[in-house]
């Protein structure tokens, strides 16, 4: 009995040591926390940065825009990321615009509707228009898919499209860009919104006749555009500054453009 206990304890200790050794946070790594929309791009930039700057490490985590701002304020993260414009009450830190992102309204690939006016989108998400027939599509119920309260993508959508109107109570709520994408890809009646850079494999709806693309967003024709921000408490630390400079540097900006984002002007 005792012997087995000892073996068990030894195994446990070994497991702990190994897992910390492999996955533990590297000393002096730069911590980036925040928006799940920024996360994949920040991760790509981090990899690039680690490749070109040996000895520097970057940890990227999700959690959401609001969480990112919180993390920057209490110093949990060196850099917080945010995928919406800051609210008036959110002050007292330094922000860097790393890129801008188009917000795409997405539908099922088989959906014949390819253009919606700003107002139609608003009415669909508010629940006033409930059938695709009313906006020139098939006779099929519309399934509105939104994001959860606090999501940067949701807040950007609310500000850019909904204005004062509220999203319908009947809207399905999903907790990530990935979940929205999965749902719209499989539901012929679905409509959702997500980061333009992540909306592969779905049909992108033109808004007021302008098809969403990085170029249209850059030229200002496509209006549903939101900022991707880096946030630091006060001036950035030396290691945060180095990373931010790297991101704003033209080659990195070019990389972001290739991924479907709009470069920071």
């Amino acid at each position: 009995m005792m012997k087995w206990l000892m073996i068990f304890a030894a195994l446990l200790v070994a497991l702990l040591v190994v897992s910390f050794g492999l996955g533990g946070r590297k000393e002096g790594a730069l911590e980036i926390i925040g928006s799940t929309s920024v996360e994949p791009f920040a991760e790509m930039l981090a990899q690039e940065y680690e490749k070109t700057h040996p000895g520097r490490y970057v940890n990227v985590q999700g959690g959401g825009s609001t969480a990112g701002i919180q993390a920057a304020i209490n110093g949990i993260a060196d850099i917080g990321t945010c995928s919406r414009a800051l609210k008036p009450e959110e002050t007292g830190f330094t922000t860097f615009l790393l890129a801008r992102d188009g917000l795409a309204v997405v539908v099922h690939p088989s959906n014949p509707v390819s253009n919606l006016t700003h107002q139609q989108i608003q009415r669909i998400f508010a629940g006033d228009v409930a059938n695709w027939r009313e906006v020139g599509g098939d006779d099929r119920a519309i399934h509105v898919i939104t994001r959860e309260e606090g999501s940067g993508t949701r807040e950007a959508f609310m500000k850019l499209v909904m204005g004062k109107a509220r999203v319908s109570r009947k809207a399905l709520t999903q907790e990530s860009n990935g979940a929205v994408k999965e749902l719209v890809r499989n539901d012929p009646g679905g409509i959702g919104y997500m980061s333009l850079g992540l909306a592969h494999g779905l049909k992108l709806v033109a808004v007021d006749g302008v098809a969403p693309s990085a170029e249209a967003a850059l030229s200002g024709q496509y209006r549903l555009v939101r900022p991707f921000l880096f946030i630091t408490r006060g001036a950035p630390s030396e290691r945060a500054k180095a990373f931010i400079d790297f991101v704003l540097w033209p080659p990195a900006q070019k990389l972001l453009e290739q991924e479907g984002l709009v470069r920071a002007k």
């Binding site: 959401g64 609001t66 969480a67 119920a141 309260e149 109570r169 809207a171 399905l172 709520t173 539901d187």
Partner: protein, 298 residues
């Protein structure tokens, strides 16, 4: 002797730390959630259907209905199949079969809930959206096939998840019924089935009720799988094909982002959930005590 004492002290310490964990969690939830609940007003908080947390409107009525609807659905499925399984295993099957079936049902309890949720999303939701929903519409039993994510999908997934709890506790209850009941009933000329449903199921009734209530507690508390298949709308569901948001999903969906009053309102949601689960557990405890009392009286 001294060694004995040290060990008993250590055990005492372990037991106390478990209990103090519970006490701390309770205190924390109430401390965080109660003020906002009072500020909004208990009636308003529980009975209002307006959940706009960033605009200061907190009403969780649709989620309370959602939790109850999904749980009720799960219990219909879990109880029918779980009880049938328990009866089969204790009354009508050879020991060899029992030794295979019972452990495999108990194994269901070890599968992570994300896996159940994933199976639900990949298999169940498309089936409901593309086959079952349209079929119901053509039979005029529903007005809209719905998006597949629904009370029904969540109920089925949860029903399967509570099967091991209900089955294994019911099996224990049925096995605990005195042998003489069964033998006496059969000796009086009752058939196997009459013996089972008139005598044994009644003798084991309180144990079965306890099993159902424990299963219910698990269904109310499940989060991950429900988020994946229930659709998480803010509306009160009108049919089993409507999507729904439960109390647990509400907390898990929004906690990551919430700040200020919104965060506190999520803790208040937790209080409501806590009260519901406490009530269920108290009933379960009372029922199983009554059973113990009866056994002594015998």
């Amino acid at each position: 002797m001294r060694r004995e004492k040290i060990i008993s002290l250590l055990l005492m310490f372990a037991a106390l730390s478990a209990i103090s964990g519970l006490a701390l969690i309770t205190a924390f939830i109430f401390k965080e959630g109660l003020p906002i609940m009072m500020q909004v007003g208990l009636g308003q908080f529980i009975l209002s259907s307006n959940w706009y947390p960033t605009e200061g409107e907190f009403g969780i009525f649709p989620m309370i209905v959602g939790s109850l609807a999904v749980t009720a659905g799960a219990m219909v499925i879990g109880v029918v199949f779980g009880l049938a399984c328990a009866v089969l295993l204790t009354q009508f099957s050879p020991p060899r079969l029992v030794s295979i079936v019972k452990p495999s049902i108990e194994l269901l309890a070890g599968i992570p809930s994300v896996v159940y949720g994933f199976m639900g999303v990949v298999i169940l939701v498309p089936f409901i959206r593309d086959t079952l929903g349209p079929a119901m519409v053509s039979l005029h039993l529903a007005s809209d096939p719905g998006p597949g994510l629904s009370v029904l999908a969540a109920s089925i997934v949860l029903g399967i998840m509570v099967l091991p709890t209900i089955t294994s506790i019911s099996v224990d209850a049925l096995q605990a019924a005195p042998r003489s009941y069964r033998e006496g009933s059969l000796a009086l000329g009752a058939t196997e089935w009459q013996t089972t449903h008139r005598v044994l199921l009644r003798a084991a009734r309180s144990g079965i009720v306890a099993a159902i209530i424990l299963g219910m507690g698990r269904a109310v508390g499940e989060t991950m799988a429900v988020i994946m298949v229930a659709g998480n709308t803010l509306d009160v569901p009108h049919s089993i094909f409507d999507p729904v948001r439960t109390l647990t999903s509400n907390i898990a969906l929004e906690m990551g982002y919430a700040a200020g009053d919104h965060r506190k309102a999520l803790f208040a949601t937790g209080i409501v959930l806590f009260v519901i689960i406490m009530v269920l557990n108290t009933i379960a405890l009372a029922v199983s005590r009554r059973r113990a009392g009866k056994a002594v009286a015998r």
